[in-house]
């Protein structure tokens, strides 16, 4: 079983851990491990995924409590030694609370949970997450969140823009009021990505919506090279 070795962290309250495992193990055939939030051994993993869900019930703030889980210390070490980190929806919220990515995700401007398919445009093709997407392509990806409005202070926004850390934008406009229509950002190295849309929900040939397939292919391609 060649391919990229995935680790998916499971917090009490995570919902999309098995969904991501279905794509990485079931569809892509890559070795995949579900990691309980109390574990600290992330050795031997190429990509660690923080899946969607309501970690710790999203009490106080989404991801506020998850960031103190034992696994998060090892996650920072994994990133420091060049490992890839992917935060999807609740995972993105946890990465911002943990300070691995700037800004914060707050309540949707329309005050309602939104589950829909929305337009997303890829801002950069030169990343391990997006190399399989044709230049400037607009795709349709599922979103499902109540607190997905990205917000940050003007200096941070300028930094994100100047350093090309904005990877995905809602197109034509953000359904949740995110600043600068931001849907997904990465850290300066490009190895830590947080996004609100669910690429794992658009990667199955048997289900409607496949614009997420190139996202996962990009990851495989970046490790194969």
């Amino acid at each position: 079983m060649a391919g990229v070795r995935f680790g998916i962290v499971v917090f009490p309250g995570s919902n999309c851990d098995r969904d991501v495992a279905w794509v990485t193990r079931g569809l892509l055939g890559c070795p995949t491990r579900l990691i309980w939030h109390r574990e600290t051994d992330l050795s031997g993993l190429d990509v660690v995924v923080l899946p969607g869900g309501f970690s710790y019930g999203d009490y106080l703030r989404c991801g506020a409590i998850a960031r103190f889980a034992p696994v998060m210390g090892s996650l920072k070490e994994h990133a420091a030694r060049g490992g890839y980190v992917l935060g999807i929806c609740n995972g993105f919220q946890i990465l911002t609370e943990a300070g691995l990515l700037p800004g914060a995700l707050v309540r949707n401007a329309n005050l309602h949970f939104i589950c829909d398919r929305v337009g997303i445009c890829v801002e950069r093709q030169d990343l391990p997450w997006t190399s399989a997407y044709p230049q400037g392509s607009t795709l349709t990806l599922p979103i499902a969140h109540g607190e997905g409005r990205y917000t940050c202070d003007p200096d941070t926004l300028k930094q994100l823009q100047d350093r090309g850390q904005i990877v995905f934008r809602y197109a034509p406009v953000a359904p949740n009021g995110s600043v600068d229509n931001i849907a997904g950002i990465c850290d300066p190295s490009g190895r830590i990505l947080g996004l609100m849309p669910h690429p794992e929900r658009a990667a199955d040939p048997d289900l409607p919506g496949q614009d997420g397939i190139p996202f996962w292919q990009s990851i495989l391609r970046s490790f194969a090279a």
Partner: protein, 692 residues
């Protein structure tokens, strides 16, 4: 020993009290009386409706578990067993819409979980008063938010259902929730306690005073009294409505499935209505054994709880398990790992009694069967003649409608073109798009949703095992098998003709499944009716049950269980008035290959449009057209020809499986015109048609 007032406070009549005295051979003490009060409520023992449910067909080659357990189970083949059931939370939602609806979702999820199944889909059927009234608007918004809150947080996709609006539901909304689950245990986890000496395990959340009298409150009390009852409760700081925690609900699902996988769980039951009392007595009675309970072991959230408060509390997210002796520590570790309470609170006895101890003294000793099975049953006389309102309605003659021609119909002074009539129908709340509602439900979590809400006449969910946990993920087999599900009811039609209306509800559910290409398998039903002591309501209930029974027999879809909610009434200036008799039919169907299904929208220009079963009799009786355009609720709807129904549905399914049919949609509320409009809207394409 007790005054009539005391008995009434417990929802018990004098002769019911005398029956208790006979079974105990003595007077019940106050704690025992409270237990009988909740266990003998309509909500728990169906004393008014049970006789009428007897004529439902409940067996079939695919039925693994029929009525009597926490949920029905059908066999989908290759070892895939589907548990499913429907439950209602009408009265709690009238008082506190958000928590009432949310705890309704939590409760039905646990009924499926307790069978050993992972919940894989949620559907809901909602009915409200007119949205011109701001209270109804707020009620609807909060109910939808409550369902979304619980379903989204617990990670089960809400994929289908229906929403209707009618003046008769003002003040008494209907909130029915259905859940599907895929069995993860080799055999069904039953609720019958077994094995004298086996420990009884309390798992889940802590116990508080919330929700006390939820069961009898749901049965015996009209909404206005509920407010006064609540008002009185308010002062005593005792909310009659339970508050749910979906985060604990999700942890309970994962922990229970892990516990069931060890094989050390002998029996399980959710603590729903009537909490510990109901689960303990039902598990003991079904197993023909007894249970000793020590309340000192129950983890309490508040101090100073009395015995009756422990026993009646309806705190949420709690389950009662019977474990194999010697394995309790292994099970307790699993629940504690998921952050849940888990304690041994008693053991199974040989003698079939429920024995409860509190602070060192025995406070309850009651035969289990007396509480859970030898409950009162009322067989009431059924009116021989339809009530006057029905007879008058059946006399209605369409010729009395205003004159009309091919251009339009005369309403008052002006001619309203048929295009305007259609637009007005499409704008009526019952028919209008519900996208703003299901957009708030996560309908894609679990990565198995084949048809999104609004795309087809039924929800379609892929059947794929998710039985793996922490550690290396095993190889995952792809699957082409899916299950379809739908929820259908029609209050107005059953009000005008209970027998035919109930038949029509079952027929429509089967039609919706056939329109996506699924073989109808089995039914779970939620009967929402008024006060059974009113002869007209009892007549409606009796005939509706006959209609459901006959239709399920004819269509080969046995009833595997369901729920009854009575005393649904709305307050009018002249007193209380029953809601429309509203049986809601939940039906599941098998999709052998999820590539061979279809939605309701037109697919390609040039395709031909066929009307199947055009020879069926038509009538405007009870139609949305009469209600919305002419503000009339009258006429006799056309009787349902079940044989023709079976032929039409079989032809439709066959066409879909051969790849000849690219989309299919059933004619229901609003009739043919609305069905065609919906097919256009769904497919974003037009159509030109000429009727035969």
């Amino acid at each position: 020993m007790y005054t009539l007032e005391d008995l009434k406070a417990h929802g018990l009549s004098l002769d019911e009290y005398q029956k208790i005295q006979q079974q105990l051979g003595r007077d019940p003490n106050p704690t025992e009386l409270a237990m009988f009060g909740v266990m003998w409520s309509e909500h728990c023992c169906y004393k008014n409706s049970r006789p009428l449910l007897k004529n439902f067909p409940t067996t079939g080659e695919r039925v693994v578990v029929g009525p009597g357990e926490n949920a029905g189970v059908v066999d989908l083949g290759e070892g895939d067993w589907l548990a499913f059931k429907i439950e209602s939370h009408n009265h709690p939602s009238a008082v506190e819409p958000f928590q009432g609806a949310a705890t309704g979702v939590g409760g039905i999820l646990r009924d499926i979980l307790t069978m050993g199944a992972r919940p894989i889909a949620l559907l809901n059927s909602l009915r409200f008063g007119p949205l011109t009234d701001p209270r109804n608007r707020r009620l609807m918004a909060r109910v939808v938010e409550g369902i979304a809150h619980y379903g989204n947080c617990v990670g089960v996709p809400t994929v289908g259902g229906e929403v209707a609006v009618d003046p008769c539901y003002t003040g008494n909304p209907l909130v029915n929730v259905m859940t599907l689950g895929l069995l993860e245990t080799p055999t069904v986890v039953k609720s019958a306690a077994q094995g004298v000496g086996n420990p009884v395990l309390y798992v889940g959340s802590t116990t508080g005073r919330d929700g006390i009298r939820g069961a009898s409150f749901a049965s015996a009390v009209r909404v206005s009294e509920t407010e006064s009852l609540l008002g009185e409760h308010c002062q005593q700081d005792l909310p009659a409505v339970q508050v749910g925690d979906p985060f604990l609900g999700k942890c309970l699902i994962e922990a229970c499935l892990e516990a069931f996988a060890t094989g050390a769980v002998v029996a399980a039951q959710d603590m729903g209505a009537a909490g510990l009392t109901c689960s303990t007595s039902e598990m003991a009675a079904k197993g023909g054994v007894g249970i000793r309970l020590d309340l000192d072991g129950v983890p309490a959230r508040e101090s100073g709880l009395q015995a009756w408060e422990y026993l009646l509390s309806e705190s949420q997210e709690r389950m009662l398990l019977v474990a194999q002796k010697g394995h309790e520590a292994e099970l307790i570790e699993i629940f504690q790992r998921w952050g849940l309470q888990a304690r041994v609170v008693g053991e199974v006895l040989a003698e079939p009694v429920v024995e409860v101890w509190h602070q060192g003294s025995r406070v309850v000793e009651v035969p289990a069967r007396a509480l859970a099975e030898e409950t009162p049953v009322y067989v009431r006389p059924v009116l021989q003649e339809p009530p006057t309102y029905v007879q008058e309605a059946w006399q209605w003659d369409p010729a009395t409608l205003p004159p009309c021609n091919c251009r339009g119909i005369q309403l008052g002074q002006e001619i309203r073109e048929w295009e305007q009539v259609l637009l007005q129908l499409l704008a009526s709340p019952t028919l209008a798009s519900k996208a703003w509602i299901y957009r708030q439900y996560d309908h894609q979590v679990q990565n198995n949703t084949v048809l999104w809400p609004g795309q087809g006449d039924a929800a379609v969910i892929r059947i794929r095992s998710q039985k793996f946990g922490s550690g290396e993920v095993p190889a995952l087999r792809p699957s082409r098998k899916a299950v379809a599900a739908t929820l259908d009811g029609n209050g107005r039609w059953v009000y005008l003709d209970p027998y035919e209306g109930a038949k029509a509800a079952v027929a429509e559910a089967a039609r919706n499944l056939s329109c996506v290409g699924a073989d109808p398998l089995a039914v779970t039903d939620n009967l929402n009716f008024g006060n059974p002591e009113n002869p007209v309501v009892y007549w409606q209930l009796a005939l509706a049950c006959q209609g459901i029974g006959d239709a399920c027999r004819a269509l080969g879809t046995p009833v595997t269980g369901g729920n009854v909610s009575l005393y649904n009434e709305t307050l009018t200036p002249t007193g209380s008035q029953a809601i429309y008799p509203t049986p809601v039919i939940g039906m599941v169907g098998l999709v052998p290959d999820l590539q061979l299904i279809c939605g309701q929208g037109w697919q390609q220009a040039g395709d031909l449009v066929y009307l199947l079963g055009s020879q069926a009799p038509v009538s405007l009786g009870g139609s949305e057209y009469l209600a919305v355009i002419h503000q009339k609720v009258t006429g006799r709807p056309a009787p349902v020809d079940l044989e023709l129904e079976k032929q039409v549905q079989a032809a439709c399914r066959h066409g879909i499986r051969q790849g000849w049919v690219r989309s299919a949609h059933d004619c229901s509320d609003g009739g043919l015109a609305v069905a065609l409009a919906e097919a256009c809207l769904s497919g974003s394409q037009g159509a030109t048609l000429c009727l035969p």
